[in-house]
Amino acid sequence: MAESPLAQPVARPAPHGGVLAPYRAVLASRIRSQASYRTSFGLDLGSSLLVGLTELAEVAVLFTSVSAIGGFDLAAMLLVFGLADLCFSLADMVVGHCDNLPEYVRTGRLDVFYLRPQPLLLQLVTSDISLRRLARAAVGLVALVVGLVVNDLAWGAGAVGLLAVALVSGTVTFAALFVWAGGLQFFLVNGSEMTNAFVYGGRYAATQPGTVWGRPLVVVFGFFFPMAFTAYLPAATLLGLDTFAGLPDWAGWLAPVAAVWAWVAAGLSWRTGVRHYQGAGG
């Protein structure tokens, strides 16, 4: 039998471009593949845009009958919606395919990841990037910009700083939610819809003013899955509107704390999930 090249590990030269090169190569190939089917990509972009617009319409329709909900008028709601949707769409674009984990487990694709000398989560995250989410991010961005213009804001270093902090923390928090859900998928597999409750339910919750919530929702989406900190509380601080649960009016600045908590929970969930995983067999 001929000597297998695998039998003798040889010191391989470092890949061109350093440690990140393999990830960059995979991402570049995913981007090229999406852009090569023009019609399909165009249709995907258009549909994503439509999804974003109907979600905005759902909120706007309510304001044809009332002037304010939970102390938030349409202008304030636009700000909340824009912040939440922009952050969610960006997180969805980068790590949203963690939602495909049950399929990766079933088809054995996840086992392939184990064979490569790279961290599992990093491979999963960089295995794809959904460019069509850009269309939804655009809806969120427009809502946010319009929200910033139509609201009577006291512009200054504080407002700009809070906005930047909110956008970064919000995106990081939503990304944590996807990973959080991913860790649970190792246990659920066929019940994968369960995590939709807090991932997509979380997105929905993030577009609402927390002032409309009863105590259970405040506990679940205000703190445990810290959705209120992604959009509603930063907007309330920015506009000087009511906060919930007796939080101080500067609570919007706590968004990074929420992001850190979300990643602690996501990390725990992911580690537990990976340790539970025994392989798909075959």
């Binding site: 009958s65 909900i69 409750a197 339910g201 919530w213």
Partner: protein
């Protein structure tokens, strides 16, 4: 368990059996059903929070909805969500894409009626693990106004069955575009966006501004969700509720006829790739 009987010569029986088969197929996925229930109720709590705050902001009454009827709307619609097809994907779309539908055409059954019957069976099953518990959670935790006479429940049951059937027959049309397009993902996505909004999934269509309301009324989508909810909750009663059920029957005839036509035309277009 159902005993296996020899196929009776009666025409309707095989379709009824497909309904039963669809029902039993879904019964195998218990964890999936529980997961769906958790997601359904979570969305229900968020929806009810926003909509009740809106009713309160409007002074306790919003386009004919008060707190009790709005809560009934939210929980009945969340309960029906697992049974009506508002997302546009179906097994048939996949069978047409892969060419498996050829086998269906070889059977001595109507392909269209068979596919719809199977979907209706799945939808009816979903009422048990997803529909009824969602409504119970809503009724116990939030509370809602429901009719006190048996009439709305009887007509409501008919309306729910019609709603499930109209949605299955309309989602079939999405799948049938596959005879021409092969890949129907884009059409299904478009269907999902339009159907959810116009069926009154997010906001009851009575709250829509007039042009949007008329647009919704001129489409089959309210027949899938809004009308069954209106009839069952007693928000619309008497002759008007019979009118809604009649509209559902009308739409079923329209989308059913379209499905027959598309299946016949599509059969000639069908090209199975590979060997």
């Amino acid at each position: 368990m159902l005993s296996v009987r020899p196929l009776s010569p009666s025409v309707g029986t095989p379709y009824l059996r497909l309904v039963v088969a669809g029902f039993r197929q879904q019964a195998a996925y218990r964890l999936a059903a529980l997961a769906g229930l958790v997601a359904n109720t979570t969305f229900g709590f968020l929806k009810v929070a926003l909509l009740l705050a809106t009713v309160q902001a409007a002074g306790g009454e919003l386009d004919g909805y008060d707190v009790g009827t709005m809560s009934a709307y939210v929980w009945l619609s969340q309960g029906l969500l697992g049974s009506v097809n508002l997302y546009g994907r179906s097994e048939m779309a996949e069978r047409i894409r892969t060419g498996d539908v050829v086998v269906d055409f070889l059977r001595p059954l109507d392909v269209h009626a068979g596919a719809v019957a199977m979907e209706v069976g799945r939808g009816l099953f979903a009422l048990l693990p997803r529909g009824v518990p969602s409504v119970l959670v809503g009724a116990l935790v939030v509370g809602m106004t429901m009719p006190t006479t048996p009439g709305p429940y009887l007509l409501g049951a008919v309306s729910v069955l019609l709603g499930i059937t109209v949605s299955a027959a309309t989602a079939y049309l999405v799948a049938a575009t596959g005879f021409w397009l092969v890949e129907t993902r884009g059409v299904a996505l478009l269907y999902m966006v339009v159907a959810g909004f116009l069926a009154g999934l997010y906001v009851p269509i009575a709250i829509f501004p007039a042009p949007l309301f008329w647009l919704a009324s001129a489409s089959p989508f309210p027949s899938m969700l809004m009308y069954p909810v209106d009839v069952l909750s007693g928000r619309v009663d008497g002759l008007a509720s019979v009118g809604l059920v009649a509209a559902q029957v009308g739409w079923l005839v329209v989308v059913g006829a379209l499905g027959q036509l598309m299946t016949r035309r599509g059969r000639h277009r069908l090209e199975v790739q590979g060997g």
